[in-house]
Every structure is written in structure tokens, then in C-alpha cells.
Amino acid sequence: MDVSQYLDIFIEESKEHLQSLNEHILILEKEPENEETINEIFRAAHSLKGMAGTMGYQKMQHLTHDMENVFSEIRNGKMKVTSDLIDVLFKGLDALENYLANIQTDGTEGDQEYTDIIDALKEILDKGLGKSTAPSEKVSAQKVTTAVPENVGKNKFKALKLEDHEKKAIAKATSLNLDVVGMTIYIREDCVLKGARAFMINKVLEEHGEIIKLYPGAQDLEDEKFDFDFSAFIITKETPENLINYVMAVSEVKEVVADYVRLEESELNSYLTALRQEEGGFSAAKTENKDSSKEGTQNHQKQASKPIANRSVRVDIEKLDVLMNLVSELIIAKNSIVSYSSAFDQQANVDFFDQIEYLERITSNLHESVMKVRMVPIETVVNRFPRMIRDLSKTLGKEMELYMTGEDTELDRTVIDEIGDPLMHLLRNAADHGLESREERISLGKNPVGSIYLNAYQDGNNVVIEVKDDGRGIDIENVKKVAIERGVITPEQAEKMSEREIIDILFMPSFSTSKKVSDISGRGVGLDVVKTKIEALGGEVEAKSKLHEGTTFIIRLPLTLAIMQALMVKLSSEKYALPLGNIQTVELVGKNEIKVVNNTEVLNLRGTIIPIIRLGDILDCEKTEEQDELYVVVVKKGDRLAGLVVDELLGQYEIVIKSIGKHIKAHKIVSGATILGNGEIALILDVNSLI
């Protein structure tokens, strides 16, 4: 069967299952008794195994099968969750992710056997079940005596030892007035496909009841790890004779023996009472679980709400891009029509203008909708961070907790793909450099468990992501020292630099004040790559810090990539676009109101002093005659204000953002270009970089 056409689906769904496993095993670590989590894990592992098997990826299938065995025992209550187990499980997950990554790149699983993980799983399984570590080829969840006493003769099933849960099942069946029949089926020795034959026999049996036990187990039957007979116990209403007849109807069956299987009276009663207790206790445990899950972490809430049917469609990203481009062109065309329409007499053509307005509304709505389609909650990127912090915590030997808020904040799809690495780096930095060791923290009177915060929220036209830690903060003097030592700045420059500027040095290439280079960070390639990547996305990053209290990295990313509202202005004869999101107000001030303080021009705006920036000078525009009254556009970034002097205001427009490409290396204030209604190009200014 050619399964290559299903490869994409397989990879997507496997990723989802692996992610689910990651999340749930994390929960399991904190709540080892959580039934829902255990069931979810079992389901995910089981699905993964099935998919891997269908696609022919045997290594994945076997590893998942081994993990599933362990979960099965935990689910049956025969094993407890230990922290060793959790570690091995995570290792197993990593191995599975490696297999998947290999499959993605070259279609095969790769050569890794991960025998150490498989052995570790086996060991835990044996230890957990109290069995001595006996070497065995098969990892079988069912333990039965292998010797069949002679006096049972053909009825091998009678000699089989029944497990606790199997006996419970028999008791339950009895209480429901059903019988349990044990059978031993002998397949003809000349049968070629024993596995297939056994499968068919079991199918027939399933039509008449429920199989509660197979010896050898189902997997072994499939793998043909048996001679020519196997036994089955089924709950049924049929008589043993009838069942024998049904099975004999299957070809290549030599002989079948069957008989009722009943528990001794005493055993039966004890199981029945145990059952009743359990059912009473089970529902109590369930409600307990539900309560704890309600007050639990957000992870838990997400888990509980999962069963609600998810009506969603997978869409190819390319199709979204095409859609986005078409909407952009539509808006450009609409802008052209609007600008030509201004030539018509408004009074005479009322209907025409009504339609133009209608068209504008529709295109705006269309644009908004398409943007929403491309928006993805940040959750998809950050959901692997708790696991990463946990691993870091163990590797670094520091206790730390990650607190995340705003996972539902949405970003454009293309940004989401790129933002993961920078965030991961900042988190690792915080864990490695920011947080002090346990001893240090205690001696400083801090909570021995370090805290790292990841907050995401919308602020105007931007999405802000903060990575905060309550560690040692940035030592400004140390940075100055190292910078001077490395010749990055001179001592004179260091004197004049503000705290912000010193911190910005950290973002320079190859700069690191860390004395140790670890696997995690310290090589000095991190922060500048973070900055470059974020700026490439049209955003910016800055750092705030307080010595001994902690450091905060603030990342700002533009919310919409392609279309935005802008204020068009004129600087001498050139037109420029200012993003509306930053603009607070527009003022008309007399030129005498601008004062000079400390070599900087400032304006007293209704009580607040804001710096004045002459845009025309920064952009090397032609000097124009100084007017008596100036237009000042007041812009805001975070809590900082500034006033930009422009020559003329042209109005508010919806513009399509076009990139000016990578060849022109302009001032960083130029963030793009837009095509106006009449075909002219106006450059878009990112004022954030000025404030």
C-alpha cells in the first residue's frame, strides 16, 4: 500500500500528538494521580502507534508501543508514576520527535535505535510491577505462567492465570448476567499466515461477545509469536458449543475447545463488593479531579475544553498568501478610484459617492477578515516553553518556574514562525544568566525558586511580548567595563552614555559579559541575532533592568503586516506616511513655542515637556522657509512622547505596505513604501525608532 500520499497528514497529526504528550506528561509530573491526563496520554500514544504502524515506521511504532505498555499499567493502577519514569518518558518523546524530524527531511526514520530508552522503559515496567528483571524478548503487558500443566490436556485456557482486572471483568459480566467462555483454538500446522488467521478468528469471536483476554497477547498474535494454538476469554451470551462452531467455520482451524469460566463464589463476591465500592469511589474521585482541574493552571482548562468539537480547516499557507496579495491589490485599486473620484462634483453625483463609501467599507471588512485568518495565537509557539524550562531547571540545577500570560494573543502567521527562536533564546538567557543559584538567592533573601515571566498583549498597533526574570539584573558598570576592555567604546564615550545606551551594547554582535561559555548561552551570538530577527520582522527589542531585581526584555511587533491606517504628511515636496497607531494628536504650534533645553528642542504641550524632532532634517529633505506656525505630530511609544515637525498634513489614508527590498540599505526609520492612488510612491516612516 502506497502511504506516501498520507505523509503530510501523518507528520501534522504526529506533531499534534507529540505536543499533547509533552503537555500532559508535564501535568502528570505535577499530578501523578490525574486520571484524565493519564487517559489522554494513553490515547495519544495509542493513536501515534497506530499511525506509525500504518505508515510502516516500525521503530516509532515499537518505541510508542513500549511507552503505551507503561501507560497501560499506570492506567490499570498497577504502577505508580515516579520521577525516573517521567524522565525516561520525556527522553522517549524526544526520540520520537527525532524520528519524526528524520522522516520530514528524508522520509526515513534514521538509524537511531534508542535501545537505552527501550531498556529503561522495560526496567521501569518490571520494577513497577514488582517483577524481577528477567531478560525477555517480548515486552508484553500480560503476565501469565508459561508452563501448562499436563492434566489440563487440550483445554490450555484452564491453566491460564487470570489477572486481577480480568477477574474483575468476569465478576462484572456475571453481575450483568453474561457468561464468560474460555477457549483454546488450534490452527492447522500447514497454515501459512498464522497471524492473519488468528486475527480472523478473533474477529469472528468479537461478533459474538467481547474478548477480555488473549494468550498470547494480541500484539504477539499479530507478530506470529506463538506455535499453533492460542487461548481466548470472551464475555458472551452464546454457549461454548456455539462458539466452537463459529470458530470451526473459519478455514485452517484444526480444533477448538471451550468451556464456561466461572470464579469461585468467595472470589466473585469479593470482586463484586470491590466493584461497587469502586464505582462509588470512582465518581467521588472524578468530581474531586474536576474541582482541582478547575482551579488548576490554564493548561488544565484547555484540556477540559478540548472535547468541544473543533470546527476548523487546515489551510495551505501559500493560499493564504495569495489571498492576502489579492486583497492588497484590491485596496490599491480602491484607493485609486477614491482619488480620481475626488475630481467629481460631490453634489451632482451623490449616488456615486455613496457607492464609493460602500466600497470602502467592504474592502475594509474584507481586509480585516483576511488578516484574522492569518492570525495565529502565540500559544502554538510558547506551548513548548514550559517543557524547555523544566529541562533547563534540571540541567542548570536551579529551581525555576515559568509563568505565561496572554497565550491567546494573536500574531500573523509569518511572524509566528520566526518569533520562536528569539523567544527561546531570551528565556534561556534569563534562566542561565539572569537567575542566580539557589544559594545566592537564599542569601539575598529571595524566593529560592526563580521566576520567569512571559507576557504577551496588544498595545495599539503592536503586539508586545515581555520576557521577565527576577534574577540578578544587568550590571551596568560591568557592561561598561567589558565594553571598554574590548574596545567597543572609549572611556569618554562611556561617561556620556545613558543607561539605555549601555544596555544596548549587549545587543551588539559577539558581545557577552559571561565568563563561561556554556552549551546554553554565553557565546555572544545570541542577543544580536535576536535583535536582527525581530527587526527583520518589523519590530524592535529593548531591555530594562534593575540590579539584583531582575531584567525585562520587551519585544514589539507590528500587528498587521500589509495594510494599515496612516497619516500622510509632506516634508518639503515629498510625501511620507506615518502609522496612525503611534499618533496621539496633531498640533499646530507657533514657532516660538519651541524652546531649546540642553541642546535639544522641546515643546511644552499642555504641561508635558516633549522633545521635538525635525523630520525634514533627519531625512535630508530640502530646506523650506520656516513658517510661523508649524504642524507637530505627537507620537507615543510605550510611555514616551515626542513631537515630529512636518510641513503639511495631507490626511488619513489606508495604505498597503510594500517592502523596498533588501538592496537599498536606508535609514532604519524607513520601514517600507506605499503606492498612492495616483501611482506615486510614499515612504513609510517607523517613528518608533526615533523615540
Binding site: 515629498e574 527590498g661 537599498i664 540599505k665
Partner: protein, 139 residues
């Protein structure tokens, strides 16, 4: 190879056809502040924003004087790369040159425009300086 023969001042330059996407007449160029000096700015090419370079400035010649004959060559160093426009004074014709019509001349190392030339082609009485487009456009 086939080249397009263009004129800058009195000199002839050649650009391999494979790089040329289209040739358009001169149009308004929007200045981009603080860009490299040899970039005149950007133009609107059927809805796309395309940077435009002055070949004269890039090669260290006298500055452009725009005439009705001035053309912009839209160049694509590779099929998948972004287009860049090059301003030339005049566009002549397509010429086919044989390999042995082209000579490589060693320039002095101090001449930093040397890398922009991919050889000198002989065409009748004229010498055509064949331009190394990837070097001119840069990465």
C-alpha cells in the same frame, strides 16, 4: 553570449540578456533618505516597489543627466531575486559575441570598479565593457 549594448556618456557597456527582465522609459524616482549614494530611489513598477540604481554613480562616472533617451533596465540577477533598476543614457541593440571576442583585462588593484567588469568585448570598431551584474547589484 548575447548582450544588450548600452551607452553611458561616450562609452559602450554590455549587459548579458539573461539578466534583463525588461526595459522601461524613465519615470519619477522617489528618493530614499540615507540610502547608498548610488541608489537614486524607488519606482512604482506595475504595483511593485523597485529600487533604482545609477550606473554612472556606481561606476564612478559623472552624474546622470536625464534625457528622453534615458532608459531604466530592470535587472534580475537570478530568476527568484528581487528586481533592481539600472539607469542608462541610451539603449542600442542586442549583440551576439563569441567567446574569443571577449578579453579579460587585469586592472590595478586600486581600481575598485575593476570587479564590475566581466571582460571587454570587441564588436567591429568598438570596445564594449561587459558588466558583471552580480557584482554590481551585490547580494
Amino acid at each position: 553570449m548575447q548582450i544588450i549594448d548600452v551607452k553611458l556618456g561616450n562609452d559602450l557597456y554590455g549587459i548579458e540578456i539573461k539578466y534583463i527582465n525588461s526595459i522601461i522609459v524613465m519615470q519619477n524616482i522617489t528618493r530614499v533618505p540615507k540610502a547608498q549614494p548610488y541608489y537614486l530611489g524607488v519606482i512604482n513598477l506595475r504595483g511593485e516597489v523597485v529600487p533604482v540604481m545609477s550606473l554612472r554613480r556606481r561606476l564612478g562616472l559623472e552624474d546622470d543627466v536625464f534625457t528622453p533617451a534615458t532608459r531604466i533596465l530592470v535587472i534580475k540577477p537570478e530568476d527568484s531575486s528581487e528586481p533592481v533598476g539600472l539607469v542608462v543614457d541610451e539603449v542600442n541593440e542586442v549583440i551576439t559575441l563569441e567567446k574569443n571576442d571577449i578579453e579579460n583585462i587585469n586592472y590595478e588593484e586600486k581600481d575598485n570598479t575593476a570587479e564590475f567588469s566581466a571582460g571587454i568585448g570587441k564588436y567591429g570598431q568598438d570596445l564594449i565593457n561587459i558588466l558583471n551584474i552580480p557584482a554590481i547589484i551585490g547580494k
